[in-house]
Amino acid sequence: MRERFQLCLRNLARHAWRTRIILLIALFGAFLTFLSENLLEDVSRKQSDMFGRAFAGHFRVLAKGIETKNTFGFYHYEPEEMLEPDEISSIKTYLAGVPEVSGAQERIIFSGLVYGVDDAEKGFQGIAMDMGSYDKELRDLYYARGSAVRPGEAQACAATWHEYEKNKNVEVGRQYVFLMPNREGEFVDRFVTVKGGIDYRTMPRDIIGMGSMFFDLDGFRSLVGYSKPLASEVVGFLKDARTANRVLPCIDSYLRENHPRLKVVSWREYAPIFAEIVLGFDVMMRTVEAILIAICVLLVIKLTTFSIIERYSEIGTMRALGFGRADIALQFALEGFLIIAAGALAGFLLAAGVICVLHLTGIHNTLTFFAWVIGDGFSPGFYADKVVSVTLIFLAVAVLAPLLPALQGSRLSILRTLEKR
């Protein structure tokens, strides 16, 4: 085998340009596949984080009568549809025992009116939630003029779109009149002081629209005058978003048995555009991977065929000297395998290096929508199953791609190959 191996290396060195082309395409294909598979895995696992960090959460437990489809979580509900404290407690206790769930919190979705400087009325939608018990790091997202909002700050965030439109900034310290729904379905008006705000400059306005965050759930309740700690929903987060299909039916079954007036809905229902973005991203990356692998396979087949045509006489000579068809096929297949394996290995190492660097530095991307969604300092990592699957794919490419022309070359007649000199 050592002698065959040496012969392969000599032949590869002889066709240097061809070797380099296959090497480079294998390298590029392996690099991108390795990188994107690991990043896709990261994104898939972090979907819960992503949408939890945004406004949607990953799944919500709320009253059955509430229509959530395409509402992005800002749905309308009747006061009697709010969750009672015992329901909230029971659901949170149940979710704490589900291993796939990373956390849960109750929230109040509200809408109302805000009066701007010239008494212009603006409608708004908002979420009141307890930042202190929020299991995601929101401090890096909600800030005004560069200073983060501290946990537990009452009435911390009440930025409005018209405020930003007018001043191109969030004005901290400004007071607004908020109209908030009370338990009886009426509005109560309250002064709210802006102590922070979402920096809308990082958000495309057509996606986000106007919204308000109220990071003090108890403060909100007392401001509105609730006698009991009610909530409009319990939001739960999955450790891995892909477990939704398995976990949500279990939660649904639990609710049917214990809280028949409630239901569980996935973010895929109330924010389908995000599901489409993730799906589109997956499809795009996988298509690029598939195209690269297909190019790699076709190129190897084509270049191995060239190599065989160029070495017709050699094939004939070797057959005459006693090399069998299997020996000839092995020779060309081994040459193809070595070059693809070398290219893929280099590509894997390069991609691994890039992932390591990104892991150390984090992906800082503060100016895009995804930075807001994913968060600053997103650190990609390695996933054993992805490393194994990508390695197996390229191993299969390295074995199978040169095999077809190698087998064709081995079936050539000795006489014909010797005559082709």
Binding site: E3, E314, T317, A320, L321, G322, D327, L415, L418, R421
Partner: protein, 225 residues
């Protein structure tokens, strides 16, 4: 019998609608240890005959027996093994592998002989390198050698597996007369020393004279043997 027995050997080639009769029912006996030249003008069937004996081409009719074995009845695997163990080939254009040096080219057929130890293979190759007088060129690539030197490498490669029969198709055709005679000297010496059967083709009268036996072909038939 240890030699080669050819009976009623015919070969037809179909070129479109035309049938070219390359060999016409040849009968021949070639004894073991012969130094025979297959002679004849171009198109007489010399190469075709060597290809039949060398299992490179299949006859249309007739048989070739080597040491009593009808080689046409062998399976593909057995034919390959036969070429590797019993036969040696020398080509008109040398057919050396350009990526391999002299040592490696001679060593090439031994890749298939896994029963031999590495050291034994090396000794066999070096013995032949010395026999063909290329000790100083052992690491030279084919393009660094003259035509005569290349053919000597090809002869050494043909002999390295210790074949019983060496088939050489116009081994001197690409060489000048002096070098051609040197190559013939070498083949003659090996034939005498080892008893290897040499069957070579040529249309050069000077080369024919060197053969112990001349088999003359004309239009696919044996004119004189």
């Amino acid at each position: 019998m240890n030699g080669i027995t050819i009976r009623g050997l015919s070969k037809d080639y179909h070129l479109g609608k035309t049938v070219v009769r390359a060999l016409r029912a040849i009968d021949l006996e070639i004894k073991s240890g012969s130094f025979a030249c297959v002679a004849g003008p171009s198109g007489s069937g010399k190469t075709t005959l060597l290809n039949m004996i060398g299992l490179i081409d299949a006859p249309t009719a007739g048989s070739v027996r080597i040491a009593g074995q009808d080689i046409q009845t062998l399976s593909e695997q057995a034919r390959t093994r036969y070429r590797s163990r019993t036969l040696g080939f020398i080509f008109q254009s040398f057919n050396l592998l350009p990526v391999l040096d002299v040592f490696e080219n001679i060593h090439l057929p031994l890749i298939l002989h896994s029963e031999l130890a590495r050291e034994e293979k090396r000794e066999r190759v070096m013995e032949l390198v010395r026999a063909v007088g290329l000790e100083d060129h052992v690491r030279h690539k084919p393009y660094e050698l003259s035509g005569g030197q290349r053919q000597r490498v090809a002869i050494a490669r043909a002999l390295v597996t210790h074949p019983r029969i060496v088939l050489a198709d116009e081994p001197t055709a690409n060489l000048d007369s002096v070098t051609g005679n040197e190559v013939l000297d070498l083949m003659e010496r090996i034939n005498a020393e080892r008893g290897t059967t040499f069957i070579f083709s040529s249309h050069d009268p000077g080369i024919m004279r060197r053969a112990k036996r001349v088999i003359r072909l004309h239009d696919g038939e044996v004119e004189a043997a």
